[in-house]
Subunit: 156 residues, 2 copies
C-alpha cells in the first residue's frame, strides 16, 4: 500500500506542452465506488492495473495498485465498468525536482486539462510553474468520481 | 480471468466431517458491490487475494483473482470493508472426481453450513454425496452479498 498525496490545478497557458518529456494514453474504468472508496481498472498504454483507492483524509488517501494481465484488464474495462470509462493523454513534465503530470481529457470531457503533483507529505513545499492556473484540489467537480458520473450521464 | 460455475447446497447430516482431507480458515471482506459485481479481499489462512466477480448469468460468473501482499490484504480488510467481514472454516472433501468444499460460518452466521461444487460447465453431471441436503444455488438469502448485509446489520 502507498499513500497518495496529490494537489490538482487548472492550467493558465499552453506553454507546458513543449516541456513534456513523454506521454502515455490512459483509459480508466470505474468498477465500483462506495463511501469515497474507488475500485478502478487502468490502462497506461498497454499495461493494465487494478487499484483500490481509499477515501480522502485531507489531501491523503490509501492506494493499492496491482499490475494484472492485459487480457483481464480489457475484459474488466469492456464488460464490467458499465461504460464508465475516461480517456486521457497524460504528459510528464519535470519541474523543480518533481514530475508534474498534465492530463488532457477526451470524449465528453474534451477541453478539460488538469495538472497534478504527487507530494511526499501534505506540507511539502513545491515550486509552481508559470503555466499553472487555479488550484482545484478537493473541488468535487474535478474529482474522478464526478467525471465518471458526468460521462455516464452523457453517454446514456 | 476464469469462469466460475458453482452449485450450492445445504447439508443433511454431519458425516462429511470425517471425510475432509484438509481445511483453511477464510476471512472475506467486501470492498464494494455494484449491480451484481463484487470486489472482495480474502484471506485463506495467511494468503491474501483481491478479486472481482461479475454478475451471475445462470450459474456462471466472471472471476478475476489476484494474490496480493498480506500486509495490503490486512489493511484492506481492516480499514476498507466497513466491518463487512465474514469468517468461515472451509473443508475440502474429494467425492466422485470433484473436490467439494464445505463452509462452516462463524460469528453472526454461526450454524450456517454450505457445500459447494465448482463445475467445468453448467450442464456437467456430478454425483451427490449422501450428506448433501437441499440445493440453494441462486437462492438470494445464501448469496455472499446477503450474508455480508446481514452481518453488517447485526454488528452495527
Amino acid at each position: 500500500m502507498a499513500k497518495e498525496i496529490e494537489r490538482k490545478f487548472l492550467l493558465s497557458t499552453d506553454t507546458w506542452r513543449e516541456l513534456a518529456t513523454h506521454k502515455v494514453e490512459i483509459r480508466d474504468g470505474l468498477l465500483a465506488f462506495r463511501d469515497g472508496r474507488k475500485i478502478r481498472v487502468r490502462f497506461c498504454d498497454d499495461k493494465a492495473t487494478l487499484s483500490v483507492k481509499g477515501p480522502k483524509k485531507g489531501l491523503t488517501r490509501d492506494e493499492f495498485e496491482y499490475e494484472i494481465p492485459a487480457s483481464d484488464g480489457l475484459a474488466l474495462l469492456e464488460e464490467h465498468c458499465d461504460g464508465a470509462i475516461l480517456k486521457k493523454t497524460r504528459y510528464f513534465i519535470p519541474h523543480g525536482g518533481y514530475v508534474w503530470t498534465v492530463d488532457e481529457f477526451q470524449g465528453v470531457h474534451t477541453g478539460l486539462v488538469l495538472a497534478e503533483i504527487e507530494l511526499p507529505s501534505e506540507d511539502a513545499e513545491f515550486e509552481k510553474p508559470t503555466w499553472l492556473g487555479r488550484e482545484v484540489s478537493g473541488k468535487s467537480q474535478y474529482r474522478q468520481s464526478s467525471l465518471f458520473k458526468k460521462h455516464r450521464q452523457a453517454t446514456k
